[in-house]
């Protein structure tokens, strides 16, 4: 396995932001913050209004690391211990299902 550094303070801060985002989404649009649900609804939207808020949340999520890059000067680490064939074989399996 790839060794990673224990980051209690970053993880506590990041965890609070994740919690804050889900509370804000519940307070404003009364939706549960679940990426898969938001993504699934994005592919089969009920109407444009429903699609647009999902798309905006997704774009916000994707631009998160870019914001971190601008503030901290580097991208958050993404280290993948599984081989490239693992996710791609899963992709083929799912696609052929």
């Amino acid at each position: 396995m790839i060794e990673t550094v224990f980051t209690p303070f970053q993880s506590l801060g990041g965890g609070s932001l994740i919690g804050l985002a889900s509370v804000l989404l519940m307070a404003t649009l009364c939706r549960v913050m679940g990426a898969k649900g938001i993504l699934a609804g994005l592919m089969q939207p009920a109407n444009f209004c429903d699609w647009s808020w999902r798309a905006a949340v997704m774009v916000g999520m994707i631009t998160g690391p870019i914001a971190v890059l601008l503030i901290a000067g580097q991208f958050p680490a993404v280290q993948v211990p599984a081989s490239k064939t693992m996710p791609s074989s899963a992709a083929l399996l799912w696609a052929s299902a």
């Binding site: 801060g13 965890g15 985002a21 009364c30 679940g34 999520m61 991208f75 993404v78």
Partner: protein, 145 residues
């Protein structure tokens, strides 16, 4: 108006995932590798997110209506069925193999890594396949009825 609100919410989520280390599969998998390269960070992320959500939801759900929406979109079912338990189990296996989960992936897309893009393609195919299967089963049930 909804977009103006939902973009920063997604951004806060994405920054949270990025800072916490949850977009990093190695860090996620190391949480479970207690005997090896153990990294307890994930416990801190989940614990903190859970506490904030628990307190925040209690306050928010006391309000008569959300700020920008009229209808309630809360899950109402309280029973545990085969779908929920089976789905959670499959989710866990997938998370354990790859270290990626749907929540951690959109922020990881922003780093433009090949593995992440492959995972997203797989995830989208999986969602489409499930929808097609669900429709096929519903159609068959209707034909038999």
């Amino acid at each position: 108006m909804r977009i103006l609100i939902s973009y920063p919410i997604g951004l806060i989520f994405g920054v949270g995932i990025s800072i916490s280390g949850m977009a990093n599969p190695a860090k996620v998998l190391n949480f479970f590798d207690v005997a090896g390269t153990w990294d307890p960070s994930l416990g801190f992320i989940m614990g903190c997110a859970l506490i904030v959500t628990f307190i925040g939801y209690r306050y928010v759900l006391k309000r008569p209506a959300p700020y920008l929406s009229t209808g309630l979109q809360l899950p109402t079912r309280r029973d545990l069925d085969l779908h929920l338990i089976g789905g959670s189990a499959v989710f866990g296996v997938g998370w354990g193999i790859a270290g990626f989960r749907p929540g951690g992936v959109p922020p990881a897309i922003g780093t433009f890594r090949t593995e992440v893009l492959i995972f997203v393609a797989a995830l989208l195919s999986g969602i489409v396949a499930y929808k097609l299967l669900q429709t096929a089963i519903a159609n068959r049930a209707q034909a038999h009825a």
